[in-house]
Each structure stands twice: as C-alpha cells, then as structure tokens.
Assembly symmetry: C2
C-alpha cells in the first residue's frame, strides 16, 4: 500500500480517536454526568473538537489528498472511496475555523442544559436565548460556504451528502397529500382499541423484555449496551462498542420496546460496518436517512408487524398476564398501529410521523431564511400542528421543546427521519423478493436471514457508497415515496378495513 495512504490513515486514525472520545464524553453527559459537570464538559468537548478539526484540516492532509486522488483512480476500490470521502470532508472542514468549532461546542453544551430544564418546566423562555445563539451559529456556518441553490442545502448536505433541499421538498410535496388523505380515511373508519397499552407496566420488566427482543434481532451486547437517558439515541465509539440509550415513560410504558428496536436498528448498522474501515471516515453509516431506514425497518416493518407479535405477544403475556388478559394478537397488532394525531414525534404512528418531520423542516428552513424568529417558534409550531394534524399541544414540552436536536446545534437533520421511512419501505419490498418466507421467519422469532441481508447489502459498506448510490445499487431506484405509500395503504387498509 502507498506510503502516502498510510500517512493519511495515521492522521485519520487520530482524528477518529478524538471524535470517538468526544462521543464518549457526550454519552456520559447524557447518561451519567452529575449536574455540576456541565460547564467543564462543554470545554472538554470543545477542545477535543478543536484538536480533531485542526488535525483533519492540516495542510499535510490537504497535500496527501491531492497526491492520493491521482494515485487511486479505480473508483470502486476501498482506497479510492477513502480518498473521495476524506477529500469531501476535508473540503467542508477547511471552510470552518477552529474557533467556530470551540464556540459551537460551548454554545450547544449550554443550550443542551437549558433545553433539559426548559423541557422539564415546559418553559420556552429558558431555552429561547440559547436557541437564538444556535441559530446565529447556523447562519454563520452557512456563510462559510459558497452560496448553494438554497442556504439550507449546506446544512442538509452534512447529514445527507448530495441531497438538495428542493429534492426533499419535491418528495415531501408528493407524499404529503397521500398521507393526509390516508389519515382522513382512517379518521372516518371504525377506531381501534388500545387502552391495554396504557395500563401500569413494571419498568424493569419492560426494560428486560426490550433487551430480549433486540438480542434476538442480533444486536450484540458484548459490543454494546443499553442505558437510561432523557432521549433515546445510538452512539458509536468503535465497531465493537456501539451503544444505545432508552427511556421509560409511565404514561406510555411499551414505547420503551419500540425505542429499543429503533435504536438497535441504528446500532446493528454500525456493528455491521466493515472492521477494515475502523479509524477511517469510511466506518459507520453512509447517511442519516440510510441510518434511519435501518432503525425504522426494525421498529416498524418488523416490530409493528403481525408476524412479529405472533411470536412475541405470548411471551409478553407471560410477563404481563393481567395487563394483556384476553388481548388477541390481531387486536394487539391493531393497537400498536392505532392512528391518532399526537404531539410527540418519536411516539407518532407511521401514518402521521412524516407530517411531524415536515413541520420541523419548514420551521428550520424558515429560520435559515430568516423568515421565522426564534421567539415566534412556539406559536408557529402550534399553528402548523393544527394545520397538519388538527391538534394543538397543551404546552411547549409537548410542542416545540420536545426534541433535543436544536439544543445540540443539529439543523438540517430532521428530514432524514422521513427519508429513512421511505427507504425502509423500498428496502422491505426488495428484501421480500429475496427472502420469500420472511414473514414466516419473523413469526418464528428468527431474524438472522434479515440481519444477514442488511449486513451484506448495506452495513458492510459503511460509508463507501453515497446514500443515493447504495439505494440505487440495492433497490434499483433513488429515494422515492411510492413503496412507502403502498406499505402504509396496505397496512392501514387491513387494520381499518378501508
């Protein structure tokens, strides 16, 4: 192998170590850190970010990349992919100053703390000044780059390389009326009963059951763990240490099961990444939408399917006999898929979920365009909730304060949740062509063929292929909502007798 490639890999390895260390500090911040630790933690993360950024954007890296681009011209090789992905990131990173990285880390650490308090007290005014600083940072970030078709493109591209705001808007504009129409049809159909989901369930037992499910999926606990945190998330410290967090909500106890399936979907993607890519930019998932396709596939296509509960409901009934007394598989299946306009995105059913995402995308675009002021967000949020879902949150905790993302400076991110849903359905159609008895296998609690397929077709490639390319390669088409609309229509026609 080329000496220059080795030199590059050595630097990239250190950058990767520093970034993973930051992730460990962030995980600890969410899972373990005592309240007093916050200020210093922000500073520590800022320093790690700054050092990583300096290393990643050094002249040495720039020169090595220039030479290596000439050396590795076989575009399908791992080496060429490494050079290509690294060069793309280098180009982006060199537009951003180290000072900005430090400032961002400090602002977002404080904003995160403020968000936690603001959400607990349902008081947007606590979060507002911090969010204003975050939005200022976002504007500053966009200003570092040459003008794009739309300023939001710059943000979106960080999470979904190559994707344009206009493309997302086209996909969403095509999808929205179909989802709205479906919801309308469901609203006038006979409603399903789901009161048994909201009885009292013991937290520890739900937690264990969740771990049982995801172990059966194939999430490897010897290379991961599940902890309590205010917000469920997945994080990667190495291919052999990819963790998930989860929570238990007394008023929605079984949501813990679906969060675990969701986060394990992310984690299994990371656990399946080619170990040869470790400590390089090729490790991990290729984009947030593809990542989300994995989490949503396990959570919804698998975890909210009839065959899945044919296997797991009898087991769940053994743990919670009184709560689920007399509940048939079909009625449990209907209950967990009940459609209802609701306030919280992460607990939304599949027919309304994307509308939550579309709302956030519109708010973000409005903020980036300067059309929406932070102070007006609660009002705009509530208006749009009323427009899309016909409901208005009773407080900001169930409205504009519900998601962690903005407090962490993540803007440009939300649309990938909906795109992930679309990809999951595209993949599902393809998987069912390849694994003819998939439903039977799921009905027996067997997931190895499914996970094997995902590993072989997607996970193993890490970030070697760009998101739209891997979609094309695996399903034969780019991101498209047709499969998702077919999936939703079939599922809800059955459940609601449409």
């Amino acid at each position: 192998m080329s000496d220059k490639l080795n030199q590059l890999k050595e630097i990239l390895g250190e950058v990767s170590d520093l970034r993973h260390a930051t992730s460990i500090l962030e995980w600890d911040q969410n899972v373990s850190m005592p309240p007093g630790g916050s200020e210093a933690r922000g500073q520590q993360m800022a320093t790690l970010g700054k050092v990583a950024h300096e290393k990643a954007t050094s002249d040495e890296v720039g020169k090595l990349l220039e030479d290596l681009k000439k050396e590795f011209t076989d575009t399908d090789s791992d080496e060429a992919a490494l050079v290509r992905v690294t060069a793309r990131e280098f180009d982006k990173a060199t537009h951003v100053s180290s000072d900005y990285i430090v400032k961002q880390a400090i602002v977002t650490t404080r904003a995160f703390d403020a968000w936690v308090v603001a959400k607990a007290k349902s008081d947007f005014s606590i979060f507002r000044p911090h969010l204003e600083k975050v939005v200022d940072l976002v504007h500053e970030y966009v200003s570092f780059f040459p003008p794009a078709d739309h300023p939001y493109d710059t943000l979106l591209d960080d999470y979904e390389p190559g994707m344009k705001t206009a493309e997302v808007q086209t996909i969403f504009n095509n999808l929205r009326p179909k989802q709205v129409e479906l919801i309308k049809a469901i609203k006038s159909a006979k409603q399903v009963k789901n009161d048994f989901l909201y009885k009292k369930y013991n937290e520890g037992k739900v937690w264990s059951f969740a771990e049982g499910i995801i172990t059966q999926f194939g999430y490897d606990f010897s290379r991961g763990r599940q902890d309590k945190a205010p917000h469920p998330f997945q994080t990667t410290f190495s291919v052999n240490d990819t963790r998930i967090t989860n929570r238990f909500e007394v008023d929605n106890p079984l949501a813990t099961l679906f969060s675990a399936m969701h986060e394990s979907g992310h984690a299994m993607y990371e656990q399946g990444s080619n170990p040869d890519y470790e400590r390089t930019p090729l490790a991990g998932g290729t984009s947030l939408a593809v990542h989300e396709s994995q989490s949503r596939l396990w959570e919804n296509l698998v975890g909210r399917s009839l065959p899945f509960w044919e296997h797991f409901l009898p087991k769940l009934k053994k743990v919670f006999p009184s709560q689920l007394d007399g509940v048939s598989v079909k009625s449990f299946y209907k209950a967990i898929n009940k459609v209802a306009s609701s306030f919280i995105r992460v607990n939304a059913d599949e027919s309304t979920y994307n509308l939550h995402v579309m709302l956030r995308l519109e708010l973000e675009i409005g903020m980036v365009e300067g059309k929406f002021a932070v102070k007006d967000l609660p009002e705009i949020w509530n208006e749009k909730m009323n427009d899309y879902l016909g409901i208005v949150p009773p407080d900001d905790a169930k409205g504009v304060l519900q998601d962690v993302h903005w407090s962490s400076g993540l803007m440009g991110y939300f649309s990938t949740y909906a795109l992930g849903n679309l990809i999951s359905a595209q993949l599902w159609e393809k998987i069912n062509q390849d694994i003819k008895d998939l439903d039977d296998q799921i009905g027996k609690g067997k997931f190895d063929s499914l996970l094997g397929w995902l590993h072989e077709k997607i996970h193993i490639y890490g970030r070697k292929y760009d998101p739209q390319d891997i979609g094309q390669k695996v399903t034969g088409s780019k991101i498209d909502s047709a499969a998702y609309v077919r999936y939703l229509t079939n599922k809800y026609s059955d459940i609601y007798g449409l």
Copy 2:
C-alpha cells in the same frame, strides 16, 4: 495579568481537557464499557495521551516558561506556583517521547484486560506476559532520565514529588518493627468477635447506607457519583465532577461502607480544590500520599472510630436488625478494628495494612533493580506474606493478582498508601488541637467543622504547595511515623486491653 501567562494557561487548559477526557474514557472502561470495546479504547486513550503530551511539551510552552520564571519571582503567589509546577512537569515530560506514551497506553490497556481475566481465573500465567511488557516499559521510562540516587526515585517522584526511595525506606524501617511488635502483642491478647460482620447483608441496602454516610461527610453528589467497578477508585473530570467507584463483596459485605468513606475522602479533596486552579496543573491533590491521608482519615480516623459508630450504628441496626441484633457499639467498634493477618490489602486492618504496602514496595524495587523476574513474583509474594504476616495466599487472586496498579503501569505508587496513613495521623493530632470537641461532633454525625478544616488547610491549595511543604505548614513537621504509632498503640491498647 501577563499576556504570556494567558498564553500558557490557554495551552495548559487544552492539555487539562485532554487529560480529563482520558480519565473519562478510563472511568467508562472500568464502569460501563462492553468487553468488545477494549481494543479501540486503548487506541483512543493512546491518541489522547499523545496529543496531550505533544501540547504539554511543545517548544512554545518551553519558551513561555523560561520567560515566566523570570516574571514571577514571588514564590508564594499562585502565578509563581503555576509556573514552578508546570515547569517541573514540562521538564519531566520532555524526557519522554510521544511514541512511548502511545506504546504505554496500548500495552497497559491490554494488560488491564488480561489482569481482569487473570484475577477472575486466579491464573498468573495470563497476566505474566503483559506484566513483563509493563516492567520493560518501566525500565525504558527510567532510562529517559538522568541517573538518580536509586532508579526507583524516578518512579516515586512522579507520585510523591521530591521524595526519595531512601527516605521512604528509612521511614518504613523505623516503622516496621513497631508495627510487627504491636501485631505480636495483639495476637497473644484476647481476640475480638466479628462474625456478625460476615452475615448476609443486602447489597442495595449497604450501597444506600454508604451513600448516606458520605453525603453526611460532605461529599457533594451534585458534583459526583458512585458506581460499581471491579476496583474502588476516585477520578476527577473537573472540580465539579469528581466520581468514585465501589464494589460489593458477598463475603465481606460491610467493606463497601469503608470503601465509600475512603474514596469519598479522595473525592472531597478534589472537590475542595480552588476553582481558580481549574484547567491548570495546580488543580487537584498535591501528591498521592497527601491524597491518601485524606481517604484514610475519613475511612479510619473517622469511620473506624467509636464516636462515629455511636451515631451510625443505631441507624445501621434499623436497616439490618437481625444481622446486628444484640451488638453493642463497643463490640461493633472492636469488630471493625479486629486485627488479623489477611490476604487483601484494601480490606486489611490498620495494624497490618502498612506491611502489605512494604511488601509491594520491596517487590517493585526488586523489579526495577532487575533482581526479581516477573515469572517469580507469585512465589516471592507468597514468601514475603509468610515472613510479614505469617500467612500464605491460597491462590494468586488473593495474592499477587489482587491489585490493579501494575496492569495500569503504575509503579512507584504503593508506598504512598502507607505514607498517607502516617500523614493522616499527623493531621489528626493537629485537628484535635484545633477542634477541641471533634469526638463529640462526630458522635452527633456532624462533620462540617472537620471538612471545613481540611478544605481550609489543605484542599483549597490544590497542588500549589509540595507535599512535604504542606505537611510542614499544617502540622509543623515532615512525614513521620510517630503520630501513627501513637494512634495505633492507643487504639489497639484499648481494643485488646494491651
């Protein structure tokens, strides 16, 4: 303030952030990390160590220090102390290459994993090749420095600045016969009963009781936490995030209480460090011996005293009524101070503890001198245990494998445990002069005057004063065993009626 001082502080701040980040990774490794994460973690810690080392030893730091030494000549100012302590560390660090730092991090991460397995299986052969590599590293480390009076001086100085091997040997040679004589006298006295300590105690309840005690001491849980780990330790991520770990041993259930007191003693020292010293080398404890004087003071002088249990035993009895039925305060006090030759250092009583330390010091000096080969350690260990304490460990888990230190590359460290005991007794005599009703206060569960005294006289100074200097300043003398011998003799004369 001088521009140059600000420049130096900025660099030192980043070094501090990187080192604290390493501590967070290490804490996670002990408390949370899944087994698969180990290899990558070693690499990550190596990179952080390397980057911190490069920053701390840069020419820029060297030049700033040269100029600042001339600028800050008032030796009692914080600024002068900062320059002095930083210059000492700079001088040491510049003797060591970054490559060595990386190598050491990787070797010790693997050695730690091997030690965990070796200890669990009580199989020294699993740990041996790793320990051999650690000893090679230690020799290499010593070789980086100009010859000292004794090669072990170089190691000792890292933990106890300014202390010489010969000084420690003199102190120990003076102390050993007195401790041996005391143990002999105790052996021929009427033995105390302590069977009730080894009944079945519920882990969760012991854990909560321990947290109750240290909260009452003044350990601030809003700036700390206690977690389970294979080995109790204290670690600092900032003055506002200093954590402790603990364990529960079924066959020695109440040891958890004393470990908590011990580690909280370390943590309260760190929590009391001057906040102005944050992100500089002046933050934290001045040496391991002074650190240990704090932990042992809370564990033994306070936690194994009669007044302490006059307050706490009634409470403990409420939690464990059947286990402690009919046990008087005096008999509980005697039981927890029972003298017995035992295998495990951390659970040893106060009269035998230092002998465990002396054994380790002799082994370390033997390894450094090349007199003892790693392969022979279990045998030498067992021989010395027989010589000193008249017992031979039944297996290596209870012998040479019991301590984590060597697996982490920590050599030169052990003697500070015994030195800490000596300092704790010196401090205790002084404190009792200053706080006349200390016993009464402890008997009422009041520790604020005591903690306040320690904060004011020791903690607040962080690393501003060297260990022997702060001892001199506070107690009027350097490290000396007389106070400890007085303390032991008084205590055990009472307990054993000598």
